[in-house]
């Protein structure tokens, strides 16, 4: 199997590691090892951690270098912003360079709010071990009634892979300014970059408004100057550029995608994403983009945006909705939907076996779990909560002790 791959696996000076196959001879000194990255198990792609280990697991091990992660924001942009900060914090801890673009907050403000890393290793493996310990005493009592199920594996609700990749962060503290300043950060704050007059081009209307094209130009300039696209010879060690673009498509970027059903610049965001994809594929960088998709009324446009990104997830938080008080969801803060996973250099992608995922932001961890509902053990048949359950296809009551009114069970 090594013979046909040898010609592909030979890295030349301008070849980027994201193109390597998994069959790399260890003796080759040109094997790229960048801190904070590792080759993927499935296809040898170079991947980085998103900062949230359970999100890494959900999207197939991590974020591949050269790809784009789209996060559809939740209603108040609380958890998507949190994910963006995790992503940037992970970059600081791994020593990557950062590029932050925002139209709302100054990038320096975002960088000051990054969560503090938990640098001792003791805190993290405990969560996995605790779960294993809690399962053990149960298995000691052999199941006498449901003996058929004895040989089936125990269902693990928390999603985590066995090998450590990525770090954990304490949300209640912010990162030390010294650690933050050690990382090189580039910022793009839209009010500083907007030109006074937007002059239409001579040939007609350009497909991208000024805001997106200035962002793309600035990004390309940074990538080229710092040598992420291979333009700088290998004098210095290679590094990854982590790009975080906050709330693209919102009205602050000059785009009316979220304001009208038939936007005048309907292709602005998609053209920008196409250019961004071209830039990512030819450089050692990885991007996370958040889009307020709940404001976009035209679902077809959102479909186009999703298809131009590689990985796409959508967050839906329960805050402010009726589900916040629903006892079903009391353990979680919101739902997470994996909309798209990329096929990179191979025909298959790592499909998850379960698509009902819910997340919870704890102090030391952002957990993503399989949404499972407890069994309905109530003796009374209460059908009140059926109308409250939207989306989840389940039949049952909200809980035994919920005290819901209006039980219409038939008494004979």
């Amino acid at each position: 199997m090594a013979a046909p791959n040898m010609s592909v696996g030979k890295p030349t000076a301008d070849r980027l590691p994201c193109n390597t196959t998994s069959f790399q001879k260890k003796s080759r000194s040109k094997l790229v090892s960048i801190p904070g990255t590792r080759p993927s198990i499935q296809n040898g792609q170079l991947i980085v951690s998103t900062g949230v280990t359970s999100l890494d697991y959900v999207i197939g091990g991590g974020l591949a270098v050269g790809t784009l992660l789209l996060i559809e924001e939740d209603r108040y942009d609380s958890y998507s912003r949190m994910l963006l900060k995790y992503f940037l914090a992970e970059g600081v801890v791994c020593g990557h360079e950062l590029y932050v673009a925002s139209a709302l907050d100054h990038p320096n403000d975002i960088l000051q709010e990054l969560p503090a890393p938990i640098l001792d290793d003791i805190a993290s493996p405990k969560t996995v071990e605790d779960q294993a310990k809690s399962c053990d005493p149960e298995s000691q009592d052999a199941m006498k009634i449901a003996w058929r199920y004895q040989h089936l594996p125990k269902v693990q609700t928390a999603l985590a892979s066995s090998s450590r990749f990525g770090h954990y962060y304490d949300v209640s503290k912010t990162m030390d300014p010294e650690i933050c300043q050690a990382a090189r950060c580039h910022g793009f704050y839209l009010p500083e970059h907007s030109t006074a007059v937007t002059s239409p081009t001579a040939t007609g209307q350009s497909p991208m408004p000024e805001t997106y094209s200035s962002l793309l130009n600035n990004l390309q300039e940074v990538v080229h100057r710092e040598g992420f696209d291979g333009s700088v010879p290998q004098t210095k060690s290679r590094n990854i550029l982590r790009i975080g673009l906050h709330s693209l498509g919102s009205a602050l970027w000059g785009d009316d995608l979220c304001c009208r059903e038939n936007p005048s610049h309907g292709h602005a965001l998609t053209t920008f994403l196409y250019g961004l994809r071209a830039m990512l594929r030819s450089s050692l960088s990885v991007a996370v983009v958040t889009v307020p998709s709940h404001l976009i009324q035209n679902r077809a446009l959102m479909g186009n945006v999703t298809r131009l990104c590689d990985t796409a997830i959508a967050l839906e938080s329960f805050r402010g909705s009726e589900r916040e008080t629903n006892p079903l969801y009391k353990d979680y803060h919101g739902l997470l939907d994996v909309r798209q996973l990329p096929y990179l250099n191979c025909l298959v992608c790592d499909l998850p076996d379960n698509k009902d995922l819910a997340f919870k932001l704890k102090r030391k961890q952002f957990t993503i779990e399989r949404l499972h509902l407890p069994p309905d053990l109530s003796e009374t048949v209460s059908r009140v909560s059926r109308g409250e359950l939207t989306g989840t296809a389940m039949v049952g009551s909200s809980g035994c002790g919920s005290g819901s009114t209006g039980n219409r069970h038939l008494d004979f």
Partner: protein
């Protein structure tokens, strides 16, 4: 090249019908595995292939074709494959300050209302092959992956249909070659689509032009890990030569290929 798909379509690299326009479409899923099949199929058949890769880089196709047993780099060096890397060319066009370097292929990025004329010129120049050179390749083949991305970039549906019509006239009718295009749709089942949903109109227009369609969808019953979706193969009856035939298969994509089976005959179920 997927052997099972070859037997379904009744073709092989040694014998296939000339002048075919094959349309691959998908809804809510990814049908690009079929493009890799056709790419390796036509390269094995010895045809001259012109590939418009508008959404992925060359190394992506190269890595997958390696697993299917065909080397794209060798084919490109020998002149059998002409590959347009849309992403690489587009960056220069989209960034300001870059004057056109003579290639007008991706000009639709700069000015979407001008249509796909530049792209068609590229196809026409490269499909005719080397005149006077070693003309040992077979009939020309045009592969497009994928055509619906130009709609996202602002090109109108009419311009995209014009492009496919011109390509079909050149490649299929004039040169008796084959053409394979991938179109990705976003289906809105609930409500009536307004004219904004361009990809549906593009799909309908292309179905009218083509001779064979492969429509890939997810399973109507929901998400399944072992069966990735279903393919509906439709041979369109043309000029009273044959009746319109439709067949439905389910598929699962592996690392080195895809397996196709009749509904309910998946190995995971049996």
């Amino acid at each position: 090249m997927f052997a099972e798909l070859n037997s379904i379509l009744n073709t092989s690299p040694d014998s296939f019908k000339p002048g075919e326009f094959i349309l691959v479409s998908d809804k809510h899923t990814d049908a690009s595995f079929l493009i890799h099949h056709f790419l390796s199929f036509y390269l094995r058949a010895g045809c001259k292939v012109c590939f418009l890769g508008l959404v992925q880089s060359f190394s992506h196709y190269s890595a997958i074709s390696q697993r299917l047993g065909v080397s794209l780099t060798q084919a490109r060096e020998k002149g059998q494959l002409v590959f347009l890397e849309g992403l690489k060319e587009s960056l220069g066009v989209l960034l300001q300050g870059e004057t056109s370097k003579g290639t007008r292929t991706m000009d639709f990025l700069r000015d979407p209302s001008s249509g796909l004329r530049g792209l068609y010129d590229f196809v026409r120049d490269n499909v005719r092959g080397a005149v006077g050179g070693g003309e040992e390749w077979g009939t020309p083949v045009l592969l497009v992956d994928d055509l619906s991305v130009v709609l996202s970039l602002g090109v109108s549906v009419g311009a995209a249909l014009d492009f496919s019509h011109y390509c079909r006239a050149t490649v299929c009718s004039e040169l008796q070659g084959s053409m394979v295009m991938l179109v990705r749709c976003e289906a809105e089942d609930e409500e009536e689509e307004s004219d904004d949903e361009g990809s549906e109109r593009l799909l309908r227009g292309l179905i009218h032009q083509c001779s064979l369609t492969l429509q890939v969808q997810g399973l109507p019953t929901g998400y399944c890990r072992d069966i990735h979706g279903q393919v509906e193969v439709c041979w369109r009856g043309q000029c009273d030569r044959q009746q319109t035939q439709k067949k439905l298969f389910q598929y699962k994509v592996h690392d080195k290929g895809a397996s196709f089976f009749a509904r309910g005959m998946s190995s995971a179920v049996l």
